[in-house]
Assembly symmetry: C2
Homo-oligomer: 338 residues x 2
C-alpha cells in the first residue's frame, strides 16, 4: 500500500480510501490508484490486517465435532446448515466450518481460538461445552442451539425435555416397560458398546431428551452407546441389546440416525418391527419418513435459518427462539409384546 502511495506521490490513506470509500476522493484519482495498483501487483487491502484493524471478518463460525465431514454426511446437520447458509449468503458473509480436534486431556478448542469470526454457533455438542465460554471470552457472539439460562444469551432451541416426554408417554401408553436408549458419545462409531450410568448423563448430548424419557417412562431405562451419532452406532447398539438375556421391548435413539441404524440392524437380525420391538427416534429427518420411523418432528431447516439470522445480525429479534415439536407416529412403534 505504501509502495503504491509512493509511486503516485500520495498518502497511504488515499489508497485505502480508493478501496473503501470511493466517495472520499475524485473519481479520476481513484482510477489512477487502481491502475497503478494493478501495475504494481498490489492486490488490495490485506484481509488479516483489515480484520485486525476493523475488528470484523465477515465470517461466522460453525463448530462441529471432531469430524468436519459430519457437516455433509449427517442428515440433520445438512438440513440445518442449508437453512443457516440460506440466510447467511444473503449478507455476503462466509461460513467457517470448524473442527474440534479431540484430545485426551482437556477439550481442544484451538480452532475457536485461532478463528477470525464475528459469531459462532455450536452444533451437536453438549450445551455447556467449554468452546462456548472461550468464544464469549474472545468477544465472539455466541448463538446457542440449546436453551441457555443467561437471560442475555441468544439461542434457538426446542424443548428437549418435552420431546423426551412425548416419546416416553407414547411408549408408555403402548405398554412398554423395558426401554433402551441409544445415546451419542464422542467415541468413534460402531465401536464397543457401553452401558452408561445415569450419572454420566451430563457428558452426553441431548441430556434433556433423556430427562424427559425418564420422567415419563414407568419402567427401567437402560442407557447404552456404541459411539458417535451414526447409523453404525445405532446398529451396533441394537445388536448388542438383542443379544442380552432380557432384550428391551423398545429402543429409542436419541436421534433419528441412531434409531434408523437400530431399525436396520433389527431387520437384519430377523426381528419384526414393531411386533417384536418398537423403535423410536428424534428430529424427523427425511430418512425417518422414508423408513416409517416414529419420531418427534422439529423444523430443522427453520432452526438453521433462525440461527443464521442471529449470527449475521446481532440486533435480530427475537434473540431467543423456541421452536415447536410434535410426535409423528409411524409404523415403527406398536404395543409391547407381553
Amino acid at each position: 500500500m505504501k509502495t503504491v502511495a509512493a509511486a503516485l506521490g500520495v498518502s497511504p490513506a488515499t489508497i485505502s480510501n480508493a478501496y473503501n470509500r470511493p466517495d472520499q476522493l475524485s473519481a479520476e484519482l481513484r482510477e489512477r490508484v487502481l491502475a497503478t495498483a494493478a501495475e504494481l501487483g498490489y492486490p488490495g487491502p490485506d484481509a488479516a490486517a483489515r480484520t485486525l484493524r476493523v475488528g470484523r471478518s465477515d465470517a461466522i463460525g460453525v463448530l462441529l465435532t471432531e469430524r468436519l465431514s459430519y457437516a455433509f454426511s449427517d442428515p440433520f446437520a445438512v438440513e440445518f446448515l442449508s437453512g443457516l447458509s440460506e440466510v447467511v449468503e444473503q449478507h455476503g458473509v462466509s461460513i467457517l466450518l470448524m473442527p474440534l480436534t479431540l484430545s485426551e486431556d482437556e477439550p481442544d478448542v484451538r480452532s475457536v481460538q485461532r478463528a477470525s469470526i464475528d459469531a459462532l454457533t455450536i452444533l451437536s455438542l453438549p450445551a455447556d461445552h467449554p468452546a462456548g465460554a472461550v468464544a464469549k471470552a474472545r468477544g465472539i457472539r455466541l448463538v446457542s442451539t440449546d436453551l441457555v439460562s443467561d437471560p442475555d444469551g441468544s439461542w434457538v432451541a426446542i424443548d428437549d425435555v418435552q420431546a423426551g416426554v412425548i416419546v416416553g408417554a407414547h411408549l408408555a401408553a403402548l405398554g412398554h416397560r423395558d426401554v433402551a436408549v441409544v445415546v451419542d458419545t464422542l467415541a468413534p462409531a460402531g465401536g464397543d458398546v457401553v452401558e452408561l450410568q445415569p450419572e454420566s448423563v451430563t457428558f452426553v448430548d441431548y441430556a434433556g431428551r433423556l430427562e424427559g424419557l425418564r420422567q415419563s417412562l414407568p419402567g427401567s431405562v437402560h442407557l447404552i452407546s456404541a459411539g458417535h451419532n451414526a447409523l453404525a452406532s445405532g446398529a451396533a447398539a441394537a445388536r448388542w441389546l438383542m443379544h442380552q438375556p432380557e432384550p428391551p421391548s423398545a429402543i429409542v435413539g436419541l436421534s433419528d440416525v441412531l434409531a434408523l441404524g437400530a431399525l436396520s440392524a433389527l431387520t437384519d437380525l430377523g426381528y419384526a418391527v414393531p411386533t417384536d420391538v418398537s423403535v423410536c427416534g428424534f428430529d424427523d429427518i427425511a430418512e425417518a419418513g422414508q423408513n416409517d420411523l416414529t419420531t418427534v418432528r422439529q423444523p430443522i431447516r427453520e432452526r438453521g435459518r433462525a440461527v443464521g439470522r442471529l449470527l449475521v445480525d446481532p440486533e435480530a429479534t427475537p434473540r431467543q427462539v423456541l421452536l415447536p415439536i410434535s410426535l409423528v407416529p409411524r409404523a415403527s412403534t406398536g404395543p409391547a409384546p407381553h
Copy 2:
C-alpha cells in the same frame, strides 16, 4: 497481552511464549502467566493479529456460487466436500465456505478479498473465473478443479472433453442426430429458457464437455439453459424443448442434476424414456443410479480428497491429478426413434 505482562512484571514476549512455545520458559512462570491471564480475562492471542503476524490462518477456502447453500443441497457438491473435509479435518484446519455475491457489472470477488485463508479452491465456476487470479495475487495458493495450462499450477480434474466425447459417441452410436444440451448458467433456476449461441460457450461451466459433444456428435447440437445447476432448470429446459416444432431425440444435461430434472419433466409430460427421448448426464451422483440415468462416472469423493490434500499441504504430490472416467450406460438412453 500487555496488561498481563505488566501485571506480572514481565515482557509481552514472555506471555506470547507462554502460549506458543511452552519450552521457552520455566513451567512455573508459564503457570503463573496462564493463571493471571485467566484472572484478568485475557482470552489468549488474538486470532486476527496472529494471522497478520504469522501469515497463516489454518483455514482453507472453498468458493461457491452465489448460493452458499449449494454446498449442502447439490449432490455433487456434498459428495465432493465430504471427501475434501475428510482430509482437511485430519490437520485441524477449518473450511471457509465463501459466497460469490453476484453483481451486474464486474464479477464480485469481495469474499475472496476479505478472506483470511491459506489456500483456495473454486467449485462449479468456469475455470478462468477472475476469482482465481485474485487469489493468486494475494498469495493464496490455488487448487483448481480443472486442467490448467500453467505447468506450476496444481489441480485435480477429469478430462471433460473426453467425457463429452464418450457421451457423444454413445448417442451417435444409437443413431441420435438431433441432440439438445442443457447447460448451467449463473441465472436463477427454472427461469426463462434461453437458446445459447455456440460462441457463448466460454461463459458456461463445463465448456470442455460441450466441446467433446460437438466433436463426437454428427448432427446438430442445440444449447439451451434455464438457469443454474438445479433440477428445476433441467425440468424447465426439457419442457421447453418438447414444445418446440422439432423436439430433439436426445437431451444431454451437462450435469446429472440437470439431466435428472429433464428426466422427471419428460415423465410428467408423458414421454417414454428412452423410447421417445433419450436422456444422459454427467458425474454419476447417487441419484443417477437410483433413477437409471445413463451418465459418465467420475470418482467424486476421491476428487474432493485429492483437492483437500493439495489444499492442506502445498508440498503434496502429485500436484496435478487426472482422475479416470467411464461411461455408465443405464436405462435412460436407447436407439433414436426414426
